[in-house]
């Protein structure tokens, strides 16, 4: 009994704590996710900023180049091809960041550099071969083919496959950027059609381009608000430039990596920052503290409940012990009273044998009969209580010996005859269990006393009760049927519960502890049988079954 309360108490303490921990963990997770998301969007915005800066640079560059090319085209229009050459030469040689200028006529013939290429120009043609391949498609007014599958595999075409003109420069447009990787450097060509359908192009010097990009990107300042590191990487992942006060660990992964916009689409920006742990640990600390506090409170409550429960149990136990003790104390005196009352009854019968007696109210025999029956009743009650106590302590034992069922029935019926007669309850007997079997006659008598006692208590005056017995093999059966008020269907099982009495006008004022049927069934079961209530249209019908018990060696 003791351990039974522990489990619910434990559950009272642990379940809320578990739920709380779960909630706290979920909270922390969602906080962390929200924080991470916030950080991600901040970082993404920062990277977008950098991308915008670079985009601005390219716009300015484009404008600058457009201006120069427009001017050169204008000069070209006003002069011959041979006269233009020195002008183009000078532009090629003197413009910072211009590696090679080229001009194609409307018919795709190369106007500049002229047919005779010097070594530098030859090198240019070699490394920009992929661009020339792409360009023929442009001239045929077809939309730009995606990386062609049938190009021979070589470093060149691989580079070509990687680079393409971006969405901003559909080859149907007037100008665009063409980017490709050559060795370790990223090369860029700005190309453009002019009014006369000529194609002008400028290959930018890769080192100078990078230097200009670095110039527009931020330097590292000591008082950066958030310690972070941004890295600009080329298509191979090589770091070209980095800024920010934070030095990432050697294998640290970036918080965010995003590719740049065209024309630097193959380049990317990485953002490194120390991992966010501070907020997390704070949140954990708080939730841990909360859980501990709640746990303590619940623990205290559980302990308090447990103590109270234990006290209640102890009190209950004390009460039971008291009752048992009292019953024990009562048993011996009561036995004496009964014994001497019965002795007196016998004596009186002998003494008053000669005198006629009617058994009316007022005669000494009647008085004695009352004393005897009441003391018998008390005995039965005390027996029930003691049996119940014994059952609770698992100390009920049977003492089998050879006996006859019908004889035991007879004894019990005899005991109740005067009581039943007083209530004018008629009893019919059909006894067919004359076999001698091994059983505990005291226990059987106790059961019968309980059943008959109920009949006497609850059956109305003038009622009928039938008692039948039979045997089948090792088992003996007794059926007791009365025509009293009966037991409602829904109370069928409950009447066997300890201390339970039907709450009705019937039981009001009738004495009883509610133990009779309880202990009777228990004893019947102990006897290898059972006591059950059978459904009847009228009254109550109890069926008792007992088995023959194995003999106990004396």
């Amino acid at each position: 009994m003791r351990s039974k309360i522990l489990i619910p108490l434990l559950l009272i303490v642990l379940l809320p704590l578990l739920l709380l921990s779960l909630a706290a963990w979920r909270l922390v997770q969602s906080e962390r996710a929200a924080l991470a998301h916030q950080v991600q969007s901040l970082v993404a915005a920062q990277l977008q900023n950098v991308d915008d800066t670079l985009q601005n640079y390219f716009q300015r560059k484009q404008q600058q180049l457009d201006t120069a090319l427009t001017e050169l085209a204008r000069v070209l229009n006003q002069s011959t091809a041979s006269a233009i050459e020195p002008v183009l030469d000078r532009y090629n040689r003197e413009q910072p960041g211009v590696r090679q200028l080229f001009v194609l006529t409307a018919r795709n013939e190369r106007l500049y550099p002229p047919a005779q290429l010097n070594p530098q120009e030859q090198r240019f043609m070699t490394r920009s071969a992929a661009f020339w391949d792409n360009l023929s498609a442009l001239q045929q007014n077809r939309p730009a083919a995606p990386a062609p599958a049938d190009t021979p595999s070589s470093l060149l075409s691989r580079s070509a496959a990687v680079s393409k003109t971006g969405p901003a420069d559909d080859l149907m447009h007037n100008q665009g950027w063409y980017i490709w990787q050559w060795g370790t450097q990223t090369h860029l060509i700005y190309w453009r059609w002019d009014q006369q359908q000529r194609v002008w192009g400028i290959e930018l010097d890769p080192s100078y381009l990078l230097a200009e990009l670095i110039a527009v990107l931020p330097a590292t300042s000591a008082d950066a608000s958030a310690a972070a590191r941004l890295q600009l990487q080329d298509a191979n992942g090589t770091v070209l430039y980095q800024w920010g006060d934070y030095q990432p660990a050697s294998q640290q992964r970036p918080l965010l990596l995003r590719p740049l916009s065209h024309p630097l689409g193959s380049w990317s920006l990485s953002y490194f920052a120390p991992a966010l742990t501070l907020g997390r640990s704070q949140l954990w600390l708080i939730s841990l503290a909360a859980i501990t506090a709640v746990g303590l409170a619940l623990g205290l409550l559980a302990w308090f409940l447990y103590r109270e429960h234990q006290r209640e149990l102890r009190l209950a136990q004390q009460r039971v012990n008291f009752v048992n003790q009292v019953s024990h104390e009562l048993k011996t005196p009561l036995t004496n009273i009964r014994m001497y009352a019965e002795l007196l009854e016998d004596r009186l019968d002998t003494v008053l044998e000669d005198e006629p007696h009617t058994g009316d109210v007022g005669t000494p025999q009647r008085y004695l009969a009352v004393i005897v029956s009441e003391s018998q009743r008390l005995s039965r009650l005390i027996n029930n209580v003691l049996s119940f106590a014994g059952w609770q302590k698992n100390r009920l034992a049977l003492r089998p010996r050879p006996a006859v069922v019908d004889e035991v029935i007879g004894t019990a019926v005899e005991t109740f005859r005067p009581l039943l007669a007083a209530k004018q309850i008629g009893m019919t007997l059909h006894l067919q269990a004359p076999q001698q079997v091994s059983l505990d006659p005291d226990v059987l008598e106790q059961i019968l006393n309980n059943l008959l006692g109920n009949v006497e208590k609850y059956v109305a005056a003038g009622g009928q009760v039938t008692l039948a017995s039979w045997q089948r093999g090792e088992q003996s059966f007794i059926r007791l049927q009365d025509d009293g008020p009966g037991i409602p269907a829904r109370e069928r099982q409950r009447i066997f519960e300890p201390f339970y009495r039907l709450g009705s006008a019937l039981t009001e004022g009738v004495s009883g502890a509610g133990l009779g049927l309880t202990i009777s069934r228990e004893l019947a079961r102990l006897h290898g049988g059972d006591l059950a209530l059978e459904p009847t249209p009228v009254g109550a019908c109890f069926l008792l079954r007992i088995s023959a018990l194995p003999e106990i060696a004396p």
């Binding site: 910072p96 010097d205 990078l210 670095i214 980095q242 920010g244």
Partner: protein, 449 residues
């Protein structure tokens, strides 16, 4: 008839007028100083009858910068390496040298301080040098730790210089590095490309290599392509001297963006320019120099092939046009020159006519080329061949020293002998190589220090 007094009077008057005139002339010269142009050929008289090589020298001599004329205002960025290897004495001396350099500048000058390790910091953006204490304070705040983002450092330095880019200012980035570039582009080729591109913008990069850990090919390429100076500071103590010399150069610039165009006459074929980058387009040769310093000569030697001619013929060889920005007068100046040659049947006449100065310069350039070839051989591990080459060039120098009566060539010959011996020592090769590269560079560019 003039009396004695009248004669006296006239004398005095003439004297006064002359004196005034002279001062006037010299005043004019002061008001409009120009660079001196000398175009000469090594052999003014050549042997008739065969095609032969000759050497053309175009020399530019900077005029004197007098005290009362303010120097060309500077627009410099000092880019310091603050990588981990600079910790300790090196960064301390670098800081001191930079502060020393700043102290030489004035209100008209603009300076920026940039430092780099993994990342680049602009310690002082391009500002007028009026508050030198502020400069000093920021220089002293530079602490060493990290890797070497050399390319980025130069880029940011150039960015600072660009803010006040002016044809009439000395626009220069001064780079100090003690180690190998390992963040960003780090090959001599890429840095050379950057140098060339910056030169077109009129920005030159001077490089100072500190210690034995830097890449001298990279540093010389960067400086060479942008026509800056290159120096090898073996110890941190050398930095003060080198920075002083560098800034001495910066403050003595008198001309920038010099373009020399040599138009060869018919029958003259330009072969190559010794020691400098050039563009040869048919009969035209174009060489760009970044700056000319006061009282210093920079020259260009062009190797030409002259077609055979008859004896006693006179031929024009070439016409030279030089354009430059005079930073003192703030004007664009043009210089013109030409040179011709005579032919003779007599070998003695040819020999006697030789222009010693031109030939000295030519020989020293050729010997320098041989020295560079020797370095390449040594890099390939062919030590003996390299030594042979240097010894040959030493002998070449010596013989020519005798012929052209040149002490300079004699001295150079002796140095080359020593260099040949130094090639053998593999333990000290790193130091020797750096020193050798620096010497070759200085000779090529006519660097003053």
């Amino acid at each position: 008839m003039q009396t004695t007094t009248e004669r006296c009077y006239w004398r005095v008057l003439t004297g006064v007028v002359l004196a005034l005139g002279l001062t006037g002339v010299s005043q004019a010269r002061q008001d409009n100083p120009r660079i001196g142009l000398e175009v000469a050929v090594g052999t003014p008289v050549m042997l008739a009858g065969h095609t032969q090589k000759a050497y053309l020298k175009v020399g530019l001599i900077g005029f004197e910068l007098t005290q009362d004329v303010p120097h060309t205002p500077a627009n410099v960025a000092i880019v310091l390496d603050k990588s981990g290897s600079m910790q300790g004495e090196k960064i301390a001396r670098a800081r001191d040298a930079a502060s020393l350099a700043i102290s030489k500048l004035g209100r008209d000058d603009i300076a920026a301080i940039v430092s780099y390790d993994n990342v680049v910091r602009v310690d002082m953006p391009a500002t007028r040098v009026s508050d030198k204490d502020e400069f000093r304070r920021r220089i002293n705040a530079i602490a060493a730790n990290g890797n070497t983002a050399l390319f980025a450092g130069v880029s940011k330095g150039a960015h600072e210089v660009r803010k006040f880019l002016d044809r009439n200012r000395v626009n220069r980035v001064i780079l100090l590095s003690d180690g190998l570039a390992n963040v960003g582009p780090s090959s001599p080729f890429e840095l050379g490309q950057l140098g060339a591109a910056l030169a077109r913008e009129s920005i030159s990069v001077s490089t100072i290599g500190l210690g034995l850990g830097y890449n001298e090919d990279l540093m010389t390429q960067l400086a060479g392509m942008s026509d800056g100076n290159h120096a090898f500071a073996e110890n941190a103590d050398d930095l003060a001297r080198i920075f002083t010399a560098e800034f001495g150069d910066v403050l003595s610039v008198i001309a920038q963006d010099v373009q020399i165009r040599i138009r060869c006459a018919d029958g003259v074929r330009p072969l190559r320019v010794l020691g400098r980058e050039s563009t040869i387009d048919g009969q035209d040769v174009i060489v760009n120099l970044h700056q000319i310093y006061g009282e210093q000569e920079k020259f260009v030697v062009l190797e030409i092939e002259v077609a055979a001619a008859e004896a006693n013929e006179q031929r024009d060889l070439a016409w030279v046009d030089v354009g430059y920005q005079n930073t003192i007068t703030r004007q664009a100046d043009q210089l013109r020159g030409s040179v011709s040659v005579a032919f003779s049947g007599s070998a003695t006449a040819v020999k006697e006519s030789a222009d010693d100065e031109v030939m000295t310069d030519t020989v020293s350039q050729i010997a320098n080329e041989m020295s560079k070839r020797a370095l390449e051989l040594r890099d390939e591990g062919r030590v003996e061949e390299a030594q042979q080459q240097l010894k040959e060039s030493a002998a070449y120098l010596r013989s020519n020293a005798a012929e052209y009566r040149s002490d300079k060539l004699e001295q150079l010959g002796a140095e080359f002998e020593q260099d040949a011996d130094a090639l053998e020592d593999s333990a000290d090769w790193n130091r020797t190589r750096k020193a050798l590269k620096k010497k070759q560079y200085s000779l090529e560019k006519q660097q003053r220090y």
